[in-house]
Symmetry: C2
Subunit: 327 residues, 2 copies
Amino acid sequence: MKILVTGAAGMIGRKLVERLARDKALGGKPIEHLTLVDVVDSPIPPDAPSAAPIVCDFSEKGVAATLIAERPDVIFHLAAIVSGDAEANFEKGYRINFNGSWALLEAIRHENEKQASYKPRFVFASSLAVFGPPFPDCIADDFAPTPSTSYGTQKAMIELILADYSRKGFVDGVGVRLPTICIRPGKPNKAASSFFSGILREPLNGHAADLPVGDDVRHWFASPRAAVGFFITAATLDTAPLGTRRSMTMPGVSATVGEEIEALRAAAGDDAVARIKRVDDPFVAQIVKGWAGRFDAKMARDAGFTAEKDFREIIKVYQQDEMGAPE
Amino acid sequence: MKILVTGAAGMIGRKLVERLARDKALGGKPIEHLTLVDVVDSPIPPDAPSAAPIVCDFSEKGVAATLIAERPDVIFHLAAIVSGDAEANFEKGYRINFNGSWALLEAIRHENEKQASYKPRFVFASSLAVFGPPFPDCIADDFAPTPSTSYGTQKAMIELILADYSRKGFVDGVGVRLPTICIRPGKPNKAASSFFSGILREPLNGHAADLPVGDDVRHWFASPRAAVGFFITAATLDTAPLGTRRSMTMPGVSATVGEEIEALRAAAGDDAVARIKRVDDPFVAQIVKGWAGRFDAKMARDAGFTAEKDFREIIKVYQQDEMGAPE
């Protein structure tokens, strides 16, 4: 089978490509070719089958049609500009996250019109940003998306189109609403969510980390490894039982900052915890207050999606995948 | 104030324009000019203030910018192709109902960029078609829209954009999800919902009417007069308390076909009821089964929207507005 990955140079994109290269198959079918698209060069794992990195902006006119003309069997659509960028650059956000994604689905529809048997699986990286406050304590699968950012709006709109195109039989779509990914490898970044990973990653590596919010802040998490697993499951599950509900909140760990810290203590001791510096940041605290802390991801769990069971496990995954700890 | 109405030649559009012409004011401000847009000539009521009908397709390139260039203070956006047309003509549905509506909001955004004080009230005619089965017995305001038609998808997408553009301060939007309008004046049409009006209107006028479904079918109704009231309320309410929830399910009457028939009996006697012919139509029954029967329109009621309290009242409104009965 032929696979197209957009956003293949991103953190999750790379890990997904590494997993595909290692597995050499998807859903029992051998992978013949990987097309890796990003605005920068996508790394090709040494054990990959035939793979071609393409450096391009998928949202530019004509690019979607070119990418789909090869009729990939599975499309992992991870490319997007991030929430802060989409908020600061309104037109760019709609152009890339909405129009660009729609152009991919339109290109698929046009290929499907030429040959009805072409109906690829389209796995869409959506986001919990489709939800906006006020929330209930636990957000169920049938809770209405009312985004409080342009990014969340663009993701919610593509979820709607994905469902309609799937209903019409043009594509076989699955939308994956990712939890906050933790522990992100690499360096702290400017995302408001950066500290959720930072207060674990930095102390585990002997460095200090700032904590800008209180211990009682609750959020929804899964590891990078779990995220890759979500995409593999989304690419291989039986979509017939989904009906018109094509996008799902992924399972995750609901935990407070305090619970994160206790998991760090259990994994790496008091010395590690002592490296966390409490530096209140009302700006970050205000943003984070708008995020939900708990989801009932029943639909996704029923469909076979799995995540870690607690923060101890999330830390263990980081130690194994990033620090060379044994499995 | 200047008012723009799209879809001004449609059944609700005409009644809205008649009401505006009669009131000569909206929210206490005198109406200086009405621009009436439709693909056919919009009738101008004799008592209208300055009014200009424009025959055009609002979704054609450049038209939205032209309409908004006059900076109307209030825009009633009712124009759309109907559900069956959008389902049968996929590209046309997205082009008109989605891209056309988005173009209006984009034109407003561009005027707002030129002069930040331009932030018109935009009243959007949405639909209960944003909801798709499976439903709970009663659909609350925070139930997720998962449309089962392309029409519903297009309406749900514009609801999202309307909320985002309102949040960003480009426009002051209110989305009005209309109940099934009953009793529609005029002749039976090919809509699957036509019989809900037909089994009352035709017998009230001495004619026979076919009933294609069983007595236990439940649905959500409001009169044309109530629909006009929804638009007036949406144009004049204080939007500050709405937050990011800009689209609301309108209040209505939840009633079964059996309850409709009993209201007809009370209003016009057994002779009228005897004019209803039971002609089962499994095709119509199947479509109607996918529609919800009950909504908790709390948000809209709290915002001041009102509808009839029962089917007796819906029939009385028809007799007054269409048959010359005294108020």
